[in-house]
Amino acid sequence: MPNSAILISVITFIYGLALVFYIGCWIFKKELPGKLGTWTLIAAAAGNAAGFVLRWIESHQMGYGYVPLSNIYESLIFFALCVAGIYLFVEFKYKVRTIGVFASLFSFLAVAYASLPSVESNIEPLIPALQSNWLIAHVITCFIGYAAFAIACGISLLYLIKSAENNPASGVTDRIPDLDSLDDLTHQMITFGFLFLSIGIITGAIWANQAWGRYWGWDPKETWSLITWLIYATLLHARLMRGWTGKRIAILCCIGFAAVLFTYFGVNLLPGLHSYQ
């Protein structure tokens, strides 16, 4: 097992710890666990980034030298990093910590899944089709988009929790920002994610055109990324129609993220050209 993989399994626990602090902050409504959560998450993200860079260095030491974004293990590591990074930016800008529960949960699940023995973590050289700068651009932009959608899904879940609360006196939802702010924040995350997903699909199409001579071939992976894109395009338009209020948008947002997850993992169960992503 490469050292980077050992580092990442340690990071899994730090993400888990951040999750515990964020939950504590929500339940006990104290500042301290919140601050601890933020700093733990920063530490986890820094370690995550170090793991990524270390793996890059290790691949060079083994003589292959590639950006570590070429299999499901490496993409999970990068996804966790994107989620944590984007969330920390949102927390810094809007001073809301409740979303941290979902952000640290997603990052935790991603690295925990990557650390499972069934997920190949060895550094393998790239087969010729994967040696492309367009592929690197494709994976990076796709995963930034996926991460934004993950956080949008977290915010939408908060929205649903808050709007389903019929006993505000219980105080469970006190720490969740008001519905309008959540709705606005979801929208911002989705526009950000939509832009990156669009760039991701486009760079993927350019890569496919270079490798196989067609920019679009309706293989399941491509089709599912288009389905995801169409769902978010629907969401953007549904917002413009009166009658589609925050709650329906929040549900669409969760459906969109389910499509993201299927594009990411589920498609491997279907036949196709893509080896992993």
């Binding site: 050289p125 089709a129 199409a205 490798a211 196989w212 599912w224 395009a233 629907t234 338009h237 549904a238």
Partner: protein
């Protein structure tokens, strides 16, 4: 679209049907939902395989709905066409009403809307007169905003400076929609004028034509491709690292281009793009066919090559070597590299013959007088090239760029109007900074806050000087 004849209302109704965002929401969701089908049912596979999987009745139904090539079916194309009409009609409809907002002759500012706007900032600037502040703020506004207008509202002694920014960004969304049209147009051009195919060229040989994908036709390049050399390099683990063909394009009898073709680095010549896609082995030149007498074991060896005819021993007929396959599959068993022949005895029916290179005794079970096998086969590497021509690609790529730019403009830039109101007061002036925008209220509030801070700093400086 007002028509004066009696069909006017019907046309209007159709127009409004296509102009609605509701329709586009339905369409986008329907496209998403139906696209799933083609990922669950593998597309364009062998009809016999489908029939085995689904059974005859289900197969017939699915086939009649074009489920096995659904992305090219009439109904999926119809959905795309409706989407196109929807986008075009909707954009025309919107542009008709927003054109004058986007490009007004004189931009209008309504003071009351600014005075009531969310996120406005007010403060007192001591020691600076409204007039002095105006002299300082106006050039600043002229530098950073457009369509500046300075007014003295009739209801008081104040001065109002208006300005705006980013009016053109309202066109971003039309760019996004236009890019969708370009993608569809590019796809259409590709499907009409483009093709996809493949050709295998052994090292040292030249090909003039290639096989078209999903059909058994061949097509001429209009030039020739010669493969001068082919190399595969491997990682220590045995994985392929790089495959490379040194190819030459021969046009009008002369070498026009030579190129080292690698995966992800195609060559385009006269609109036809050549991709390195695979490689393999193929027999080169002649080999030997061995006839072993089943009774006394005597052997007779004869030279043969693909496409040639070999006389059977003692004039008992002939054997035609017709074809070669890298991995011939016989009832699910992979026989490996094999030659396919046709045996024509002097009397009796011709019959096909399979000659696997690695299983010389395979032919024993046929019986007959001779057991036939092949030996001394020499292989050379061939390079597998993919061939594509798609004149729609430039249109599609233009669509890509416009889509990214349009999305960026739509999501992250916005049109905003800004107002500074200066009210003279006993000891200085009262400053109001406000902004309004249609889309990005948070962004406008932040911009107003930053502008107020900037102006405050400027006002303090004059306060000190005067």
């Amino acid at each position: 679209m007002k028509t004066k004849n009696k069909n006017g209302t019907a046309i209007e109704r159709i127009w409004h049907f296509f102009a609605s965002v509701r329709l586009s929401v339905v369409l986008l969701l329907t496209l998403a939902a139906t696209s799933i089908i083609g990922t669950v049912i593998p597309q364009n596979a062998d009809p016999a395989a489908y029939e085995r999987k689904f059974g005859q009745p289900v197969y017939t139904v699915l086939e009649s709905l074009n489920m096995f090539d659904m992305y090219h079916s009439w109904w999926f194309r119809l959905l795309l066409c409706v989407l196109i009409v929807n986008i075009i009609v909707c954009s025309i409809q919107r542009l008709k009403s927003t054109w004058r907002i986007i490009f007004p002759k004189t931009p209008a500012y309504q003071p009351e809307r600014f005075r009531k706007s969310a996120g406005r900032v007010q403060w007192q600037a001591a020691g600076a007169s409204a007039e002095a502040l105006k002299k300082m703020f106006e050039p600043y506004m002229r530098k950073h905003f457009r369509n500046i207008k300075v007014e003295n509202p009739p209801e008081n002694q104040g001065i109002m400076i208006f300005g705006e920014k980013g009016r053109w960004t309202r066109l971003g969304v039309y760019a996004v929609h236009f890019s969708v049209l370009l993608l569809m147009l590019g796809g259409l051009i590709g499907s009409i004028f483009g093709f996809e195919g493949y050709v295998n060229i052994p090292a040292g040989e030249t090909r003039q034509a290639f096989s078209l994908k999903n059909s058994n036709q061949t097509q001429k390049f209009g030039f020739a491709i010669r493969c001068d050399d082919f190399n595969v390099s491997h990682y220590p683990s045995g994985r392929p690292k790089e495959y490379r063909s040194d190819i030459a394009i021969i046009d009008n009898g002369k070498v026009a281009v030579t190129h080292k073709l690698r995966v992800n680095a195609p060559l385009t010549y006269k609109g036809i793009t050549i991709f390195q896609s695979s490689y393999g082995k193929t027999p080169s030149g002649s080999f030997n066919v061995v006839f072993t007498d089943n009774e006394d074991g005597t052997r007779i060896t004869k030279k043969a090559a693909i496409g040639e005819t070999v006389d059977l021993p003692e004039g008992s007929g002939e054997l035609i070597i017709r074809d070669y396959s890298n991995s011939f599959s016989l009832r699910g068993h992979n026989m490996g590299p094999s030659f396919l022949g046709m045996l024509k005895p002097e009397s009796g029916q011709p019959r096909p013959l399979l000659l696997p290179v690695n299983h010389p005794s395979f032919d024993k079970m046929r019986g007959g007088q001779y057991q036939i096998s092949v030996k001394d086969v020499e292989f050379i590497q061939y390079t597998g090239l993919q061939i594509a021509r798609d004149p729609g690609v430039p249109v599609v790529y233009t669509g890509f760029i416009i889509m990214i730019a349009g999305c960026y403009v739509t999501f992250f830039m916005f049109h905003r109007k800004i107002c500074i109101e200066l009210q003279p007061e006993d000891n200085g002036a009262r400053i109001l900074v406000a902004g309004i925008s249609q889309r990005n209220r948070t962004g406008t509030k932040n911009a107003v806050k930053r502008l107020a801070q900037k102006l405050d700093r400027m006002a303090r400086q004059t306060g000190k000087i005067s």
